[in-house]
């Protein structure tokens, strides 16, 4: 039997510092259980995490590169959403 049909899983790991799960790569596996085992071998050889998620790659919906402008150009102009937009006197500028 060929492994060509083995599904691809995306791997996400939460580091010990309490941050969100972060995408680290992908593994092929026959099912989710063995995908977790493979991900553990491949991506946590140095204490990188305390939790692993594996998600079938084909279950992910992604925005298309052509949509980049439509989706992301508007916030670029909205500089008033950043604290540095507001100029305050030196005495209170640590606010």
């Amino acid at each position: 039997m060929s492994t060509a049909d083995w599904p691809l899983f995306e791997v996400f790991i939460r580091s010990r510092h309490g941050l969100s799960h972060k995408h680290v790569g992908s593994v092929h596996a026959v099912d989710a259980t063995s995908a977790l085992e493979n991900a553990r071998e491949l991506y946590t050889r140095r204490n990188e995490g305390t939790s692993i998620w594996v998600v079938p790659s084909n279950a992910i919906s992604a925005s298309a590169p052509e949509q980049k402008d439509a989706l992301f150009s508007s916030p670029v102009e909205k500089i008033y959403r950043h604290p540095s937009f507001y100029k305050l006197p030196a005495e209170v500028d640590k606010m």
């Binding site: 039997m1 492994t3 593994v27 063995s34 491949l42």
Partner: protein, 334 residues
């Protein structure tokens, strides 16, 4: 470098005015240092070059386990054995990260393995040299991984996102490889018997030139190299990387109290670099063509390992199928 002489399929560099609108927009992004991601438009030749380079890199990591595996059962202490096993496991992991990165370009892992097993795909020439004594484990870690690190540190800035991210991960792990190798040599030189010290010098004599060849042929007249640099797949030329490696390695060689098998190797105060002798390129091309001391043996062993693993893959598949069938029956019953 773990990828040598990667064919770009390009005979001469295109001028901007000869490019399509898509290509011009692509080059503008490259110039801007924005990363190219899997879903983005890219020229076919860029995609093919990446597949060749990344898969060659992956194959090198996988074949690279063999020269070290040769000494695993004969490591002098349990500590050295554990370290070597950890390093070999890392190489396997690095191969996997890289196959994953290549797959984002639309090529299947089975396809890539097939190309390796049939001899169609290349891997680094360095792994076709035998490891003859324990000091070779030190020399491989220090020189071979050292040369790979010089290349890979620069490749962290490669233009293709998934390749760059794999490189960042690999670089984090690889530094231990070089340090453990150097420590093996240092221990033998400082505490070893005269015979053990001779082993160190012998290992360096054999691995010095092949390590320099890892960076690939000289820059002059290499269209492939020029195209890869223009696409920012490569960020520094073969000769630049080789010089960086030599400059950082010679002082380490002196601390060991050993010499390089190159009478022309000497510091040049005018250039601020080490001068070194001519590389024997006929040896390099011969090994690349498949006639190195271990080419045949390495490939045979890889194919055999893959074939011997068939029952494991079949068993995993059979078990998963059974589990899924069981789950489906339970669901029906409830």
């Amino acid at each position: 470098m773990y990828a040598q002489m990667v064919d770009t399929g390009v005979k001469s560099l295109k001028h901007r005015s000869e490019m399509s609108a898509d290509e011009q927009a692509f080059m503008a992004r490259i110039d801007n240092e924005s990363k190219i991601e899997p879903q983005d438009w890219m020229p076919d030749a860029y995609r093919k070059t990446l597949v060749r380079q990344i898969s060659q890199h992956a194959h090198s990591e996988i074949i690279g386990m063999q020269p070290e595996g040769n000494w695993l059962t004969r490591a002098p202490t349990i500590k050295r054995k554990l370290q070597l096993a950890a390093k070999i496991q890392d190489e396997c992991g690095h191969g996997q990260y890289l196959y994953s990165a290549a797959e984002t370009l639309g090529v299947g892992r089975d396809q890539l393995l097939d190309q390796l097993h049939t001899g169609k795909a290349k891997y680094s020439s360095i792994f076709n040299y035998p490891t003859l004594n324990w000091a070779d484990m030190g020399a491989v870690g220090w020189l071979v991984d050292g040369a790979a690190i010089v290349n890979q540190v620069v490749l962290q800035r490669t233009s293709y996102g998934p390749y760059s991210r794999a490189m960042i991960r690999i670089c984090k792990e690889e530094s231990f490889h070089q340090r453990q190798g150097y420590e093996i040599l240092l221990t033998m030189m400082q505490k070893g018997t005269p015979a053990q010290k001779d082993m160190v010098q012998d290992a360096i004599n054999r691995f010095w030139w092949p390590s320099l060849m890892m960076f690939g042929p000289n820059d002059d007249a290499s269209t492939n190299s020029a195209q890869s640099l223009a696409w920012k797949i490569k960020r520094k030329s073969n000769d630049e990387l080789r010089q960086m490696f030599i400059d950082q390695t010679v002082p380490q060689l002196e601390v060991l109290g050993c010499t390089a098998p190159d009478p022309d190797l000497q510091w040049n105060p005018e250039t601020g670099h080490y001068d070194f002798g001519e590389i024997d390129w006929s040896e390099f091309f011969n090994v690349i063509k498949g006639n190195g001391p271990c080419n045949k043996q390495r490939l045979e062993k890889k194919v055999k390992a893959h074939e011997n693993g068939t029952w494991v893959r079949d068993a995993a598949q059979a078990y998963a199928t059974k589990q899924q069938a069981g789950a489906a029956t339970k669901k029906e019953a409830s």
